[in-house]
Amino acid sequence: MSIAFTVLDEKPSLARSHALTQPYCSLGRMGELERHDSPWTRVATSHSVTYAPVRKSNAYVRAMNNYVVDLFASIVAAARVLCAFDVFLSLAFTTTSTCLYWFLDMDAAVNISWTAVSFAIIIPITSGISLSFQRREKALAELGMLLGHLTSIWSCAHSWLVPSTRKEGGPKLVLLLDNFVEAPEQKREELRTLFDALLVALIAYLDAERWGRARNTIRCIGGGVEQCERMAIAHGSRMQFAGHMHRVRVLCQDFKRAGLDGGQCHRLDQYVTIALAAYERLCAINECVALVQIEPLSVTACKIHASASMRACPPVCMRIPQPCLRRRIREP
């Protein structure tokens, strides 16, 4: 008996007799606005599917209301974006400069082309927004892939049937988790605890402050140490998640003891592999380190590392002490 039939049991008279026979919408009217109940809403009701009913109020009032609320929300969002020290600083520079020219050297007034601005500001910003949105969409896809495969593993563990190992009669096929001879309830609890820890570790990792990409730091005023601390926190959560994923893999192998054959076990293992690959890609999108070095013997440089391959904190650990560097330069 599948989950779908369990839902149908609630309305057997209507849903069973009309399952898949009633149209969801009229194909001739596709694209037209259906003001009240569509055919699919009746089918949805019969399957106990909840949906947002159309409120029978004046459409123009509703549209105007939505427009006003949207406009107000847009103003609030724009104000939130603009509330920053940078903005006030640039406004102060602009007004001061304009006033200085106005009162001290009005003859300097000249019509300047905006081409330089478009090259120096607009192009980098539009490119940056475009690239950031690509990263965001990619991250969403990978997160969906990860969560989807985790759900699949959970669903398989709770729905797959295996030959019963109990000898005292009963059904020949039983649920996978019920087929553990020693304490099946304990196995369910173990799986629940494992997924709980796994999901929380995922949230904790993605909640950890990034240590480089969102903000530039300078090493000589303590930026390196701060980055190391943040990196250690994020990597701790990452290691926890990896450890839990390993436990999921071990648990999948453990299902063999409950009668799951090798092929199906391999399929579950594939789910774990895909989820792990999605997680690694998500980490690569999330983590990139940039540290601006300002030191006496080095030209200001921007070092970018992919932290996926880093074990500790190379930006600080790899720093060569100045005396050593001078000695090396002098030596042939």
Binding site: M1, I3, T6, A77, V81, L82, C83, A84, D86, V87, S90, F93, T94, T95, T96, S97, T98, C99, Y101, W102, M106, A109, N111, I112, V117, A120, I121, I122, I125, S127, G128, I129, L131, R135, R136, L143, L147, L150, T151, W154, H158, S159, V174, D178, R188, L199, L202, I203, L206, D207, R213, A214, E280, R281, A284, I285, N286, C288, C302, A306
Partner: protein, 112 residues
Amino acid sequence: MAHRYRTPQAFRAFTRVYLLLAGALYGPYFVELGLGHTGTERNLWFALLFACCTQLIFCGLYRSMLSLEDLFARRNSSMYANVDVIKVPEMVELIRQQLLEIESKSLQESTH
């Protein structure tokens, strides 16, 4: 894979510095606006208003780019506006509810 997803660091640093300087560099242009076509008008407020609006537009775009740089919503993240961030706790909470739903259905089936 990582190299494909880096947004250019130099873009951001250069834009940030230039954004601060642009208003000062374009001072003569705003003064020219205040003087009008004839050069005899004395409209400082219009010049300042135009200068501020221009800076706000640029800064708004720049801040939008910065807020997209950090993809995931953080607790107590006050640095950026967090308008377009991915809200992981909410997404995972939905998954948790799905897992519980699957489990309860599974238990119902096993008792039948």
